[in-house]
């Protein structure tokens, strides 16, 4: 059998399905539901077996359309930085507030993607987010939690 990344993904999916199936069998159902034709664990059990079946097939059958990815040309570093910035954005948005975190997230992302026109970067972050917030909060009346703006008295 020819080992390629698709096969490895299929193997991981096979293991995931086995874990899913094991967890499905562990779902606690009510005593009176235990022998019912259908209970909370029935559908997940079928899904677990379906996952094992299809990933097993993919593992066993030959793969004529092998996908080759040129890893050397891929920008792993920039992508990882962008993901990291998004995680930091997610971690701080509730504590710092929507306006500041979103503006800094946009500024940081523009910078790491290679942008250096500071005025444009600024215009497309702080004023842009303020306008967007006005649309959501002011016009459409969609609540946006922002402790910072509340602290300085801009938002009620």
């Amino acid at each position: 059998m020819n080992i390629n990344t698709t096969k490895i993904i299929s193997l991981l999916f096979f293991i995931f399905s086995a874990f899913y199936l094991y967890t499905a069998y562990q779902i606690q159902v009510f005593a009176f539901d235990e022998n019912a034709p259908f209970n909370a664990r029935t559908f997940p059990i079928y899904l677990g077996y379906a996952g094992l079946f299809f990933s097993g097939l993919k593992l066993i059958l030959p793969d004529p359309n092998t996908i080759k990815v040129e890893h050397k040309t891929l920008e792993y570093k920039k992508t990882a930085i962008l993901v990291l910035i998004a995680i930091i954005y997610g971690a701080t948005i509730l504590k710092v507030g929507y306006f500041l975190t979103t503006s800094f997230f946009l500024m940081g992302s523009y910078y790491f993607l290679g942008e250096r026109r500071w005025i444009l970067m600024f215009m497309l972050s702080f004023p842009f987010v303020a306008a967007f917030m006005y649309l959501l909060h002011g016009v459409l009346d969609i609540y946006l939690r922002d402790p910072f703006l509340k602290l300085i008295g801009v938002m009620g």
């Binding site: 997940p44 899904l47 059958l61 995680i87 946009l106 967007f132 969609i142 609540y143």
Partner: protein
């Protein structure tokens, strides 16, 4: 009936009502373009405002908002690969590649014309078939729905996988697995939450679709930035915004629109099925019906592939009014909100409405139609300007896509966990996309997961645990036979190709 239509038209065509529908279309388009805010939210936001008007004007305003939001959803699907609602997911399969080839204006114009044609044809079907179709929609039982969902999932796996059926079926199973997270709908038992309270309500659709489409697309663009084969084609703003549809493309649309409007309308009539299944089935059916050289273009910017789901989802939206107006049963979230609004106006939909108050029945239908016409008139001139979003440099566009995705989730839950979950799913999806694992089957399976379990539960309980329900009824057996035919046809084609 003619008298009813004329009364409906007279009500809908007053100056005040046309002005209201224009306002509604404008705001609906803006709201629909924002990820996470679909037609349902748009209509819900408008309900308090509509109570200040008489019922007809209120309904006309909502009609404008509704069609505007649907069009706005298609716009974000085509331009940013960020479908905000399930009904426009299939639009992105060919709309987004077409926009990437510098034909964003054309893609938006095809979507607008197809939506208009789908809605128009569905309105005609509605005029003649509404009373009799309500009986058909009632004859569908749980086994039929279950078989229909199996058919929908198999069709999307078979048609969107570019010859990799098993990979697509793996994604179907993964989508169903993700949908099973959270409380069981009947017993309230929590499943696969691992004692994490944030997962008790399950994973939201917007989160999964934003992660697997918009965010993962943005990450893929950054990842492949230096890939010479993925280099973006430089196009002029004039070409990007051009809404001209040539003769050949018009001919393709003319073939696709009538047949997909029928399937969209029929699926829309079934309560619970709605625009999502309609658009996916229409896409799959269309791919199977076109010539072999056209088939190859699917997923790469095919006119058929874009017109089919857009026609079907609009036809299904109109079809969904059959059970709502004739039986008082809302078939989807959006029609449920509309039902609430109708009740607020003191209008009780049901079989009596059609017989005793035909003027209200026809006013609602006509107002929906006028909303669509105004939308087309208003939005076609705006397309060249909307399409210029794609002319924004990638250094700015990518962070803005990420920003809209994260905001869409944030305004829904105000929860850090959902943002982490979205980033996690997006990273996995980006990696899987590199190896050609298709995302559309995952999304459709995720949307249908809950309904599928619900209908399997009812079917198995009614048949006392026996699987004979799959062939006990002729309708179920027919749907299942179609599924088997599709799978068989795919296997046959694969072997034929290899030999």
């Amino acid at each position: 009936m003619i008298e009813g239509i004329l009364i409906g038209l007279t009500t809908a065509l007053t100056f005040q009502n046309i002005f209201m529908v224009m306002i509604g279309c404008f705001f609906g388009t803006i709201i629909g373009m924002l990820p996470g805010l679909g037609p349902m939210t748009a209509i819900a936001l408008m309900i308090p405002i509509t109570y200040g008007f008489d019922p007809a004007t209120g309904l006309i305003l909502m009609a404008g908002v509704y069609y505007g939001a649907v069009f706005g959803g298609s716009t974000s699907s085509i331009l940013l690969n960020a479908p905000g609602v399930p009904g426009t997911v299939a639009t992105s399969f060919d709309g987004y590649p077409m926009a990437q080839q510098g034909k964003a204006g054309k893609a938006l114009a095809i979507a607008a014309w197809s939506s208009f044609a789908g809605g128009t044809l569905a309105a005609i079907y509605l005029l003649f078939l509404a009373p009799s179709l309500s009986k058909v929609s009632l004859s569908f039982r749980s086994p039929d729905y279950f078989a229909l969902m199996i058919l929908g999932l198999t069709a999307i796996a078979a048609f969107s996988s570019k010859g990799q059926f098993i990979k697509a079926m793996m994604m179907v199973v993964l989508g169903l697995m993700l949908a099973s997270v959270g409380q069981d709908s009947l017993s309230d038992i929590t499943r696969f939450t691992f004692n994490n309270m944030n997962l008790t309500d399950g994973i939201s659709f917007v989160l999964v679709v934003m992660a697997t489409f918009a965010m993962s697309e943005a990450l893929t663009i950054i990842l492949k930035r230096n890939d010479p084969t993925a280099a973006a084609k430089q196009v002029s703003l004039t070409e990007l915004g051009s809404i001209r549809i040539n003769k050949e493309e018009r001919a393709k649309m003319l073939k696709t629109i009538p047949r997909t409007s029928i399937i969209g309308f029929i699926i829309g009539v079934l309560p619970g099925a709605g625009a999502t299944i309609a658009s996916f089935l229409a896409y799959g059916m269309e791919r199977n019906l076109v010539k072999d050289e056209e088939k190859e273009k699917f997923g790469k910017g095919s006119v058929h592939g874009l017109a089919a789901p857009e026609t079907a989802n609009n036809a299904a939206c109109s079809g969904a009014f059959v059970p709502l107006l004739t039986l008082g049963i809302p078939g989807s979230g959006t029609t449920a909100v509309m039902l609430g609004a109708l009740l607020g106006f003191g209008i009780q939909p049901g079989p009596r409405l059609y017989m005793t108050n035909p003027e209200i029945f026809w006013s609602v239908i006509m107002s929906m139609y006028i909303g669509m016409v105004i939308l087309l008139i208003l939005n076609l001139p705006l397309i060249p300007y909307i399409a210029r979003i794609l002319a924004v440099p990638k250094n700015y566009l990518i962070p803005l896509i990420l920003f809209f995705s994260i905001t869409g989730i944030y305004v829904m839950s105000f929860n850090n966990f959902d943002i982490y979950l979205m980033i996690g799913i997006a990273v996995v999806a980006t990696f899987m996309r590199l190896y050609d694992f298709p995302m559309p089957p995952l999304i459709l399976a995720f949307v249908l997961g809950g309904l599928m379990e619900e209908n399997l539960r009812r079917s198995l309980l009614l048949s006392d645990g026996s699987w004979t329900f799959l062939w006990d009824r002729t309708l179920t057996a027919c749907i299942l036979a179609t599924t088997i035919l599709i799978v068989g046809w795919q296997i046959y084609k694969t072997f034929k190709k290899k030999n």
